[in-house]
């Protein structure tokens, strides 16, 4: 991403334990990362906890980052996503019926529309184009799983399809996505 270069520099300073750089990193990225956590968790208190844990994690591991091959934003987003998914899948932390209704409502109101929502960068365009080549079911399950952290089981419930069918949609969809992206 073009706006990642200043972040890479800020992160390098964080690795040297520069607290001011860390504050800068937070100011720059917290809004986006909090939104990612909120989209998956749908509860502000949980998203706050996850954001807090994630930034402590980022601070502790920013020194390892240079060895990684991904963009800073992708690296930080992955940390938040993993924390959020772990949080969501804690034992006894399944969505209650009420939460699940809210979730379904929310999903209906922001139905994934890659064409409209993706930024016009090259990678984003390629992904949008390749998503379009998937079947509607494949596209929908992948977008829902990614954006809202739905499990195979929750997807099956939401889409009212057998579990095996949903699993196949995802697997085949990802395979097709990769070969399409590789051609771009």
């Amino acid at each position: 991403m073009p706006d990642d270069d200043p972040i890479a520099e800020i992160m390098a300073r964080c690795a040297l334990r520069d607290a001011q750089a860390f504050a800068q990193l937070y100011r720059h990225s917290a809004g986006k990362l909090y939104a990612v956590a909120l989209r998956i968790l749908r509860r502000e208190d949980w998203a706050e906890e996850v954001l807090q844990e994630s930034f402590v994690n980022i601070w502790n591991h920013v020194g390892d980052y240079s060895a990684q091959k991904s963009a800073p934003t992708t690296w930080m987003t992955a940390i938040v996503r993993n924390r959020a998914l772990d949080w969501l899948r804690r034992p006894h932390q399944e969505y209650g019926t009420e939460d699940y209704d809210l979730l379904v409502e929310a999903l209906a109101s922001d139905a994934p529309d890659p064409e409209q929502t993706l930024q016009s960068e090259r990678a984003a365009r390629a992904l949008a184009e390749c998503l379009k080549r998937l079947s509607g079911n494949q596209r929908q399950s992948i977008a829902l799983a990614y954006a809202h952290g739905l499990s195979h089981g929750e997807l099956a419930r939401h889409l009212q399809q057998p579990l095996g069918t949903v699993k196949t949609w995802i697997r085949r969809g990802l395979e097709k996505l990769k070969s399409c992206l590789d051609d771009h």
Binding site: Y34, E48, A78, A124
Partner: protein, 233 residues
């Protein structure tokens, strides 16, 4: 667990990045990631491929308390106050000496939190003075006030009962309910708005066993399991 088949490895990496690889399979996969650079590369590629899906997210400013909490934790790490606070063994070890000694030890290590952030801490112990639960909150947090709760060790709740947390205002004033809590190791509970200020002046906290749904009378009806005094750090 080894994943020999390359196609399977990449498919698992894709589902890991997507988030649909779960439970034991996810844990197992994460363990393999640690010493398998090729597998990490698969994951990184998939994260990059899917990353544009996050570009559509509209940033939401998190409340200021999140940054305060992060700051408190990172400025003290790794041997600092936060690490000590999170260390179960420390509290267990401190049990014999009680809270006062624990706090003196904390102070003597020079690991108290920065002055401007006032933290209220309650170490709640059972009848044998063994610490069982810790509760803390920021005294100055504006807006919604949250208590951070840690249940130390494994705790079990009897069927059809509930754990209710009480604020003990001190003197002969009656306990006021702070709501129900769970046996989860870490929890974050919202302080009822009408008690958000009063709790900073409370003498202590107590936890009682109540019927499912909480005390029917508004006062503790069951046995008090844990109790502790508030200390400002």
């Amino acid at each position: 667990m080894k994943y020999h088949n390359e196609l399977l490895r990449e498919a698992l990496a894709a589902e890991y990045a997507l988030g649909t690889l779960q439970g034991r399979a996810r844990r197992r996969f994460e363990r393999s990631l640690k010493d398998d650079p090729a597998l990490r590369r698969y994951v990184a590629s998939w994260q990059e491929r899917l990353a544009p899906l996050d570009a559509a997210v509209t940033p939401v400013q998190p409340p200021a308390r999140v940054w305060h909490a992060i700051q408190r934790r990172v400025t003290a790490a790794p041997r600092g106050w936060a690490a000590l606070w999170d260390s179960l063994r420390f509290w267990r070890g401190a049990a014999f000496a009680g809270l006062a000694a624990a706090l003196m030890l904390t102070a003597s290590l020079g690991v108290l939190p920065p002055e401007r952030s006032e933290l209220m801490v309650v170490v709640m112990s059972d009848e044998r003075a063994e610490p069982r639960m810790t509760v803390s909150w920021d005294t100055d947090s504006g807006g919604d006030k949250r208590m951070r709760i840690r249940v130390l060790g494994h705790a079990e709740m009897a069927p059809d009962t509930a754990w209710e947390l009480w604020m003990l205002p001190g003197g002969d004033r009656k306990p006021l309910s702070l709501g129900l809590i769970t046996t989860h190791e870490t929890q974050s509970v919202l302080v009822p708005r009408e008690l958000a200020t009063a709790i900073n002046a409370a003498w202590g906290l107590a936890m009682s066993v109540e019927p499912k749904g909480g005390s029917p009378t508004g006062l503790p009806t069951g046995p008090v399991l844990y109790k502790g005094q508030c200390t400002k750090l």
